[in-house]
């Protein structure tokens, strides 16, 4: 026979009975004497009694040990309930009422039995009800206990009859239940049972109103009103036993029921709301019928249909739903479903619904709470299933959380990509500051994403520097819009914008730089956060070099920018101005420039060549060369045009300068003239220059390369310049180099500004001269004035 599973009530009751029988404290009861009397008092036929004794093994043993006794009691309950006496049924009957013993104690028991019967089978046991004639008090306790067994309390009662709405399971295996109960009883509820017996037995013996005390005891126990009434919706109101107290027999069924209920509610062995293993397994099976995936959710409508089958009033179902839908999402997770089911069972068994969800029924919202969430049955209950169920519960409970994680990961990846691309310097910053709201990455961000590989960060910074030194901070990770690397085009666009203000080429670049500054600061912040980045990187955000028109130039974008710029050569005149801002890159590719200048300048027209010729002075600042030459060329024209042309020229120059700067990064200053060409070349090869800057120091050839490339396109000078500059390859990314590159850029910027200054001063001079000449003429024309 399997172990006997008894509910708390049963255990208590049985232990009380046993103790009362076991007057000798021999831990066993002789088959004769009290036991027989007790059994007989159960109002069972002798044959049944004999059968019971046989089943429980007392016959074999010759006496009733605790286990046998319990089994016998359970069998008595079964018999009284009208269930066939079978060993299997011991554990399978969940709501088995406590055995009723007519003599005093029996009252409650029988009442319980009756009630159980009622609850379990919706009344099949009613026949048994009338039984408790002499029910007298004491039984309350026992009744309560009996009810308890019905109620799927802690004790792992066989759930067979349980499940509420669902098909009742096979008849309880009582013998097994008995055994189990016995074991458990000995283990856990002994105390309680001890108390109960005390209460119950006396009445039994003396037919006294011990129950009163028992009731008191029970009342004491009744904290949680509902024991999980055994699933079977038929629940015998445990509390009914209490009222029975007075002894009336008839209304027993009802009173019994009520008392049972009361008692049930009162019985607070452990958590009356705990779900036993069988129950939980049953619930899980039911869950599967609705939703195959244990980690999934049952939608409200499906749950509604399901629970409506329990025939509970909608109002109560609504209340149960409110209690069990813990996360208020309109759907039930496995945990929530079990809780709801349990509540339904309890309600069916007569327990009142609690006002708030009992702890043991709280669904585990997160995996972490699994242990907590799963109602831990009383120690005696072997919730073996719970861990298993917990897990599935976990998942459903955490779907959202789990979902967020992948998101996070993705974001992290994005982070990394950003960082790698460098264009995301802005993104980085945003992430760090958490100010960047919309960006999911930022929200999630935390150290991980930010923590880009130092090299990456470094590279970004280097690029920043480079870009700074270049016409704009093309790469400026700072300027790059965070989320989009692909924004290189965007960057180009942005670059173009500022460039619109041709004249303000520099000023616009200034704006960029200003933008960059905050960005760089943000970057710095990020960098700092990333920790991994070397300190030097932080520095990167070095004073955003002169406003680089191409603010949005991210590292990666820089390359793209180059292309973009290349694509927008002419248009870039103004833009170029902006873009070209980057301090005129020292005429890196002098040699090429010299060769190219004309070629490149062709686009610009003669001005360029002229420029180139004049550029020598501007050598130091390549971009200026172009600008300068243009300027001068324009200067020939009416001064009025100078401004305009100068703008364009500046734009070009800027572009060129940008290119040059890019190329020049290094100390290659002397190549001024080539600067222009270089710029153009650079424009042509957007890609080429960018990488160069960083490598400048490393190789001089790089410089040359751009020069050669300049030849191809002059028109694109500006664009390319811008593009190239932004695209400073950060691949090299070394802190030192970055810093040095930035320094160079700054220097270049300075030179460009200086050049501009000189040009403007020249213009001023010219204008003054003109003015003087005009005044002279005027005087000549007005000789009278002298007169």
């Amino acid at each position: 026979m399997e172990s006997l599973t008894l509910s708390d009530v049963e255990q208590k009751y049985y232990s009380e009975l046993f103790l009362s029988c076991d007057v000798d404290n021999a831990k066993k009861v002789a088959s004769n004497g009290k036991v027989l009397d007790l059994f007989r008092s159960a109002q069972l036929s002798t044959e049944v009694v004999h059968q019971i004794t046989e089943l429980c093994g007392a016959t074999r043993l010759g006496h009733f040990g605790r286990s046998q006794f319990y089994i016998a009691l359970k069998l008595i309950a079964l018999a009284q309930s009208g269930l066939p006496l079978r060993v299997e049924s011991l554990n399978s009957v969940r709501d088995l009422p406590l055995p009723r013993f007519v003599m005093g104690k029996n009252d409650q028991e029988s009442r319980h039995a009756v009630m159980y019967a009622d609850t379990e089978n919706q009344g099949p046991y009613s026949g048994v009800i009338p039984r408790p004639p002499a029910r007298v008090q004491g039984k309350k306790v026992s009744a309560h206990e009996m009810i308890q067994p019905c109620v799927p309390t802690v004790d792992p009662q066989p759930d067979t009859t349980s499940p509420v709405v669902s098909p009742h399971q096979s008849p309880p295996t009582s013998p097994h239940a008995w055994r189990k109960h016995k074991r458990q009883a000995s283990g856990g509820n002994v105390e309680r049972q001890a108390s109960v017996p005390g209460v119950v037995w006396p009445p039994f013996r003396e037919a006294q109103p011990a129950p009163v005390t028992g009731d008191g005891m029970w009342s004491a126990h009744s904290p949680p009103p509902v024991q999980e009434s055994w699933v079977s919706f038929t629940d015998t109101p445990p509390s009914s036993t209490l009222p029975m107290h007075p002894s009336s027999a008839q209304p027993e069924s009802t009173t019994v029921r009520t008392t049972n209920e009361n008692q049930r509610q009162g019985s607070g062995y452990d958590d009356p709301w705990k779900i036993t293993d069988e129950q939980r397994q049953y619930y899980i099976n039911q869950f599967k019928t609705i939703q195959a995936d244990l980690t999934g959710l049952i939608p409200g409508s499906a749950a509604k249909e399901f629970f409506t089958k329990s025939k509970l009033p909608i109002l109560e179902l609504s209340h149960i739903w409110e209690l069990s839908d813990f996360d208020k999402d309109g759907a039930l997770t496995l945990d929530e479903f079990c809780a709801a089911f349990h509540l339904v069972v309890a309600r069916k068994n007569g327990y009142d619904l609690p006002e708030k969800l009992p702890e043991s029924l709280m669904p585990k919202l997160i995996d972490l709470d699994d242990s907590a969430g799963v109602p831990e049955p009383a120690p005696e209950v072997g919730f073996s299933a719970s861990p298993v169920e917990d897990t599935p519960n976990k998942s459903p409970s955490m779907p959202s959380l789990n979902q967020t994680w992948p998101e996070l990961n993705q974001n992290n990846e994005q982070w990394e990509t950003f960082s790698e691309r460098s264009s995301s310097s802005q993104t980085l910053t945003q992430f760090d500051s958490n100010i960047a709201p919309a960006d999911p990455d930022t929200a999630i961000v935390h150290p991980v994403p930010i923590r880009m590989t130092p090299s990456k960060i470094h590279m970004q910074e280097m690029e920043l520097k480079r870009t700074g030194s270049d016409h704009t901070h093309p790469t400026s990770p700072l300027m790059v819009k965070p989320p989009e690397l692909p924004d290189e085009t965007k960057l180009a666009a942005t670059i173009k914008y500022p460039s619109a203000t041709v004249g303000d080429g520099y000023s616009s670049s200034d704006s960029f730089s200003s933008d960059q500054e905050p960005i760089s600061s943000a970057v710095n912040r990020q960098r700092s956060q990333s920790g991994a980045s070397p300190e030097g990187l932080k520095v990167v955000a070095p004073p955003p070099p002169p406003p680089r028109p191409n603010a949005s130039h991210s590292r990666s974008s820089s390359l793209d920018m180059n292309r973009t710029f290349a694509a927008v050569p002419a248009a870039g005149s103004q833009q170029a101005g902006v873009v070209a801002f980057p301090p005129a890159v020292p005429p890196r590719p002098l040699p090429t420039q010299t060769s190219m200048p004309h070629g490149h300048r062709s686009v610009e027209g003669d001005a360029l060549p002229a420029h180139t010729s004049t550029s020598p002075q501007l050598m130091p600042e390549q971009p200026n060369f172009a600008d300068f030459s243009q300027f001068q060329a324009f200067a020939v024209d009416p001064p009025a045009d100078d401004g305009e042309k100068s703008d364009s020229g500046q734009a070009e120059r800027c572009a060129e300068g940008a290119e040059m700067m890019r190329t020049v990064k290094n100390e290659v200053h002397p190549e001024e003239r080539t600067a222009a060409t270089v710029n153009s070349a650079k424009v042509s090869t957007p890609l080429a220059p960018p990488p160069k800057p960083v490598r400048r120091r490393l190789k001089s050839e790089d410089e040359l390369r751009p020069d050669t490339e300049d030849l191809p396109q002059k028109s694109n000078v500006i664009a390319t310049v811008l593009a190239t500059q932004p695209s400073i390859p950060r691949s090299i990314g070394k802190d030192k180099k970055a810093i040095q590159a930035s320094i160079r850029r700054n220097k270049e910027t300075n030179t460009v500004l200086a050049r501009l200054n000189s040009e403007l001063q020249q213009q001023l001079k010219d204008l003054l001269e003109e003015r003087i000449s005009l005044e002279v003429q005027l005087e000549q024309l007005r000789p009278f004035s002298h007169l």
Partner: protein, 139 residues
């Protein structure tokens, strides 16, 4: 701190109305009913962002000598009306808003209950408890 809280359905019939029983509840019912006109007037006037949170809270609908009536309408045209006693310390607007917010949240929970048919009286205990908490303060 309300003396009366009512939830009016879209069709302007009460889904839930609870008053502090000290005074005639009928009076409050009447007050709520008349306030519906004001609510309608307010929500019909606002044609633009109907979903604007600001507009959800209608503010003081009208004050009487004894009490003030505040209104709140949800996106589904379910109205919440709170009647507060003027003699009480005048509640700050924020407090009223928070009360409405709580009401709205509770109402949403009720709506989520599959066993609740929209249009039925609200019999949720949870909702009741929240409303009671708000009314108890008032008293």
């Amino acid at each position: 701190m309300a003396v009366c809280i009512a939830v009016i359905a879209k069709e302007n019939y009460p889904l839930y109305i609870r008053s502090v029983p000290t005074q005639g509840e009928l009076k409050f019912h009447y007050t709520v009913h008349t306030s519906l006109d004001v609510v309608e007037e307010k929500i019909s006037g606002v044609g633009k962002a109907l979903a604007d949170q600001r507009e959800l809270y209608l503010g003081l609908l009208y004050p009487t000598e004894d009490y003030k009536v505040y209104g709140y309408v949800t996106n589904s045209k379910v109205k919440f009306v709170i009647v507060v006693d003027s003699s009480n310390t005048s509640l700050r607007d924020n407090e009223i808003r928070s009360m409405f917010r709580k009401l709205h949240n509770s109402f949403t929970d009720v709506m989520c209950n599959p066993f609740y048919n929209p249009g039925d009286q609200i019999q949720s205990k949870a909702f009741d408890s929240i409303v009671s908490a708000m009314m108890v303060q008032a008293c």
